[in-house]
Subunit: 294 residues, 2 copies
């Protein structure tokens, strides 16, 4: 598949189906006992996610090595498993208490709270099992840190919960999102790059790219929560304001937020300069993340 | 430290302090932001656990290699982190709804439900980070499987929840506990053995030992829930019956359960025969697990 002759939408569809097929191959079958937990895991994994993290991982690997290395599907899928676990737990009554996710009832609405907690635990655990099959201990450590409490995804979640009772500030806002969304997006690029044998310079460039699109992603997410309906979003709109979450529009206003997203896109593009034309798809993916807001 | 001159209780105290010190060194400090999650993680990790899993891991390594290999503390601690996460999530209102654990209020009673869910997630994630520092991808895969949904700890938890609405049977009971408690105990021995470079025969022998003490452990746990007070247990007694859990005393009666525990102890001892005198401590640990019930 040459990038110059395949349109972006065809590329995205092909990548997403490839990831879907790999996830289907890797996850325990619904008929595998205990059936309930495997049904719950698959319910959330196959809920219409766009597979942004695994696609970034695959593409980072290709940008470095020019082709897919063996085992890269396991690496890419581990990111989607972690992402899905975080959504299931975030949606729980004790956390964001969301009934709707991607237009469907959330895990605890379908399987009950106990099973939703366990399904999240199971996907988190399984992410490391899958990654260990293909990766090295170094990749496992990288993913665990990105998902963890020191600048990682759980840190962002805690800052987010505690931020509800603090005065909104630009600094707190950025700290939340660097951790909450940014760390895993950055990790998606790093795992792909490391698996492909990136040099220190290449890894650094892709990490910076990941940081900028991570921030852009969250700014756009916050904007969409204000400007779109629940139907358009596939989840409850306006929840950020209702829950007094610190958001980019709340801190900076809608127009400034849009400018900030565009700025992060530019910085993301610049980070890729070392790769020249090989980074075409990564540039397009950055554009896609920002243009969701249009 | 020569095993012949150090009493079992001194040995246990020394091993437990060593694990406590390693956990203290490995876990993020309470002052590391976000402070709340690190306080919650440490609250449950340092709640008076006996460190049975890490001690089994250390001892399996010594039984194989005659001494401690570098990195074994990380391997041993990863097991305690996984065990602690499972206790925090098991105690949640949606699961066992326990207010008391080891004589202290459970995590969600102290930190709230959201933070308890995240603290469990964080310890699970951190277990793999710590293991990845010392271990190989093979050890990571081994731990993830033992903690997972196919015959692992989460499978046991699901069988346990679903078992409450099923007629109790000896078969279901054993399936629950092989997964719920057995898999992680067995894994404790396997990780120590693998880290120490065990032969296939040694690994197999220690796995069988782990299976037998795992079953013994759970039988004794079920017996204690019936025969001891909440004060003696440090947790709510009689909960199994109240929650219609399938237990060994409920299925087999108290006396037969005691005989079964003794039988598992004998089988555990027999599994160690290939190691001769080097397995003295492991034999003593098996005895200790069974004799808790006296």
């Amino acid at each position: 598949m040459t990038s110059s002759v395949v349109s972006l939408s065809e590329y995205l569809a092909a990548q997403a189906s490839r990831i879907d097929a790999a996830l289907d191959r890797l996850l325990p079958a619904e008929s595998e006992p205990p059936e309930t937990i495997h049904r719950a895991m698959r319910y959330s994994v196959f809920a219409g996610g766009k597979r942004i993290r695994p696609i970034l991982c695959l593409e980072a690997g290709r940008t470095v090595a020019g082709a897919d290395e063996e085992g890269i599907e396991e690496v890419a899928c581990s990111l989607e498993l972690i992402h899905t676990y975080s959504l299931i737990h975030d949606d729980l009554p004790a956390l964001d208490n969301d009934d709707l996710r991607r237009g469907r009832p959330t895990s605890h609405k379908v399987f009950g709270e106990a099973m939703a907690i366990l399904a999240g635990d199971a996907l988190l655990t399984y992410a490391f099992e899958v990654l260990a099959r293909a990766g090295s201990a170094a990749l496992v450590g990288e993913l665990a840190r990105a998902a963890g409490t020191v600048g990682g995804m759980i840190a962002g979640q805690v800052h987010d919960i505690e931020g509800e009772s603090q005065p909104p500030s630009a600094e707190l806002l950025e700290r939340i999102h660097r951790a909450k969304t940014g760390a895993l997006l950055r990790c998606s690029l790093r795992l792909g790059a490391m698996h492909a044998g990136a040099t220190a310079g290449q890894l650094e460039a892709l990490s910076r790219f990941g940081e900028h699109i991570g921030l852009a992603f969250q700014i756009v997410d916050d904007i969409l929560d204000v400007t779109q309906t629940s139907e358009q979003l596939g989840k409850t709109a306006g929840k950020d304001a209702a829950q007094h979450k610190i958001t980019f529009p709340a801190v900076h206003g809608l127009e400034a937020s849009r400018r900030m997203a565009a700025e992060q896109r530019t910085l993301a593009h610049e980070a890729l300069s070392v790769f020249g034309d090989r980074a075409l798809r990564l540039r397009q993916l950055a554009d896609l993340i920002v243009d969701r807001s249009s």
